[in-house]
Symmetry: C2
Subunit: 179 residues, 2 copies
């Protein structure tokens, strides 16, 4: 079975990096209660709200993101039985390409270059897609697992996974049809 | 209709770049008759045969490749009626990522970041794939157009296009079924 896995907010945690960049530059309290349905930048004071876009374009931004808990072990486990691809919308940010490549080499060295896809629209063919953004599900034919992130908490239309333990349980329980 | 287009030896010409790098470093004549069925490195003297791998890994190698004749105009024309994606096996060479991104920005600025795919295996969903490597056709469901390059001249199993004019003619003549 071919399983495609998104990076940001699924394997890697950009939100805590945004918070640390804001803290580095501004002496303002950040309201990061992260209410359901809101993006992190909705919680940033208005006069510096646009800065997230500068941060995300910085060389190095994606290089040292923290791991989402349990992701390395779970992906390794999935790879024992399945054909695992990492599929990330990286082409939006030029400098993210090499950062994401190096980040994967560091944390997921068992993923071959053949199994990495850096793209814009996810025009991929796979049996399962694990992603936090429902826009990536629209044209996807396989099984969709919505990985929980504050911005998608109000979405009810998709099968949801709150963490990597749940991903493993769901994939072991209900294997999708082979391609 | 969604049309996926490979980069090397289809839009960009890495072979002439290899030749110029060899000429820069070695005072040897290069037999680049490019016989049908052979890769360019089969024509390099044996003691420096391995150098192509160093060259291709150099930062900047893919940044200034010459264009394949007619490619810009043809892709622009295809884009008027179709959903065009550039799909390149870029993840094999870390440094190629940003070089290919910048090369596309320079020569194909009308291609959105949403329509770029840098990958290893081409696990994409499209109606047409234009590529010079038949390995990329194996798992592809749509119409396959083999773009002529010396290494594939002995291949007879696929619909062949020798240049961009022929691509336009073939796509106008025989539109594939919509996805």
């Amino acid at each position: 079975m071919r399983i495609a896995i998104d990076m940001d907010e699924v394997l890697a945690d950009p939100i805590s990096k945004f918070v640390s960049r804001y803290n580095q530059d501004y002496n303002v309290p950040l309201d990061l209660t992260m209410e359901p349905g809101y993006e992190f930048f909705h919680h940033i004071p208005e006069h510096i709200n646009h800065k997230w876009y500068d941060y995300i374009n910085e060389a190095g931004f994606f290089r040292d993101l923290p791991l989402i808990e349990g992701s390395v072990e779970a992906v390794k486990k999935l790879q024992e039985e399945h054909d695992v691809y990492i599929v990330s919308a990286a082409t939006e940010f030029r400098n993210s390409l090499v950062d994401k490549y190096d980040w994967l080499s560091e944390h997921f060295p068992f993923i071959s270059w053949k199994n990495i896809v850096f793209c814009g629209n996810k025009i991929i063919k796979a049996d399962v897609l694990i992603d936090d953004r429902i826009k990536n599900f629209v044209d996807f034919d396989g099984r969709k697992l919505l990985f929980t992130s504050p911005h998608n908490l109000l979405v009810t239309d998709y099968e949801r996974v709150d963490n990597w333990q749940q991903v493993l349980e769901k994939i072991q329980q209900q294997p999708a049809a082979k391609l």
